[in-house]
Amino acid sequence: MKVVVNVFLKAGVLDSQGKAVHHALESIHFNNVSDVRVGKQIVLKLDESDEKKAMEDTTRMCEDLLANTVIEDYTIEIVK
């Protein structure tokens, strides 16, 4: 089973990379961009057929390692 984890800085925590990318987009004349957030994507291949168990395990992975919940939020998507 493929599991996709997205990690982003929490809303309210300044995303300097997002801001820099936003400015760069404006400098190449994309003036319709109102916000940019830069995060990271972690793709896992799990030897697991039980979706519930996969979700539980991945949540623990995020809480313990994949995200720093002091500054980051995460989303988990199970791809069939």
């Binding site: 300044l14 300097s16 820099a20 390692l65 002091v70 500054i71």
Partner: protein, 224 residues
């Protein structure tokens, strides 16, 4: 006086730290991260600077699961004194031994230069040889030194006098190189036995190299 210095794959300040403490007369030992115990004669445990595990995922994120970290947590709980410098500070926040987190510098640049710091609180073993409002000149060298803590956490740091050092200019006016909240450069835990800072006092031990302001800081630990 025995100083034990942690070494992860990618640590690169362990020998500078050893040299600094040796020059102050301490016995030193470098401890590889696979160790499962902190040597029992340790008076101070230093988590040295560098790039543990190549800073992969986040600075300090993978080091917190090294075998030695279980012993480090126990050592802290038992009141042992721990100093985290730069990447060591990042490791200690990731491990939950210090509050907050270190984000990418606001400018996105790696910053490597001398920077002035103001002593905010000296009621702790680390800074007891300095006075409040003293200004020291200490090198910084980091990419992820932008200290962040949420509003309630920040309030708690102030209430418990856990903020030890802030970035400033040579006259003591606030000057913030990396975007840290309230220009915070160094903190301690509530129990005042775990210390973390981004600047490198072990690199400021000789005037001929720019500053010896680090001596007074590191010496604080030697009289314990």
């Amino acid at each position: 006086m025995k100083v034990t210095i942690l070494q992860f794959p990618g640590t690169n300040c362990e020998y500078d730290t050893q040299h600094a403490f040796k020059s102050l007369g301490a016995d030193t030992e470098i401890l590889w991260h696979k160790a499962e115990a902190v040597p029992s004669d340790t008076d101070l445990l230093v988590v040295a600077g560098g790039f543990s595990y190549g800073d992969y995922l986040r600075s300090g994120a993978i080091a917190k699961f090294s075998p030695v970290m279980r012993a480090v947590k126990k050592y802290a709980e038992d009141g042992g004194k721990i100093l985290g410098i730069c990447n060591g500070f990042q490791v200690l926040t990731e491990a939950g031994l210090l509050p907050g987190a270190l984000k990418r510098n606001e400018t996105l640049h790696f910053i490597s230069k001398y920077h002035h710091l103001k002593v905010i609180n000296n009621e702790n073993i680390f800074l007891e040889r300095l006075q409040e409002d003293d200004i020291v000149n200490i090198p910084i060298a980091h990419h992820d030194g932008n200290y962040y803590i949420d509003e309630s956490g920040l309030k708690e740091l102030y209430e418990n006098n856990q903020i030890l050092l802030k970035y400033c200019d040579e006259n003591g006016n606030e000057k913030n190189p990396n975007g840290s909240i309230d220009a915070i450069a160094g903190i301690c835990n509530k129990e005042r036995n775990v210390f973390g800072l981004m600047p490198h006092p072990e690199r400021a031990m000789e005037t001929i190299l720019g500053s010896d302001d680090g001596i007074k800081m590191l010496q604080g630990f030697l009289n314990a």
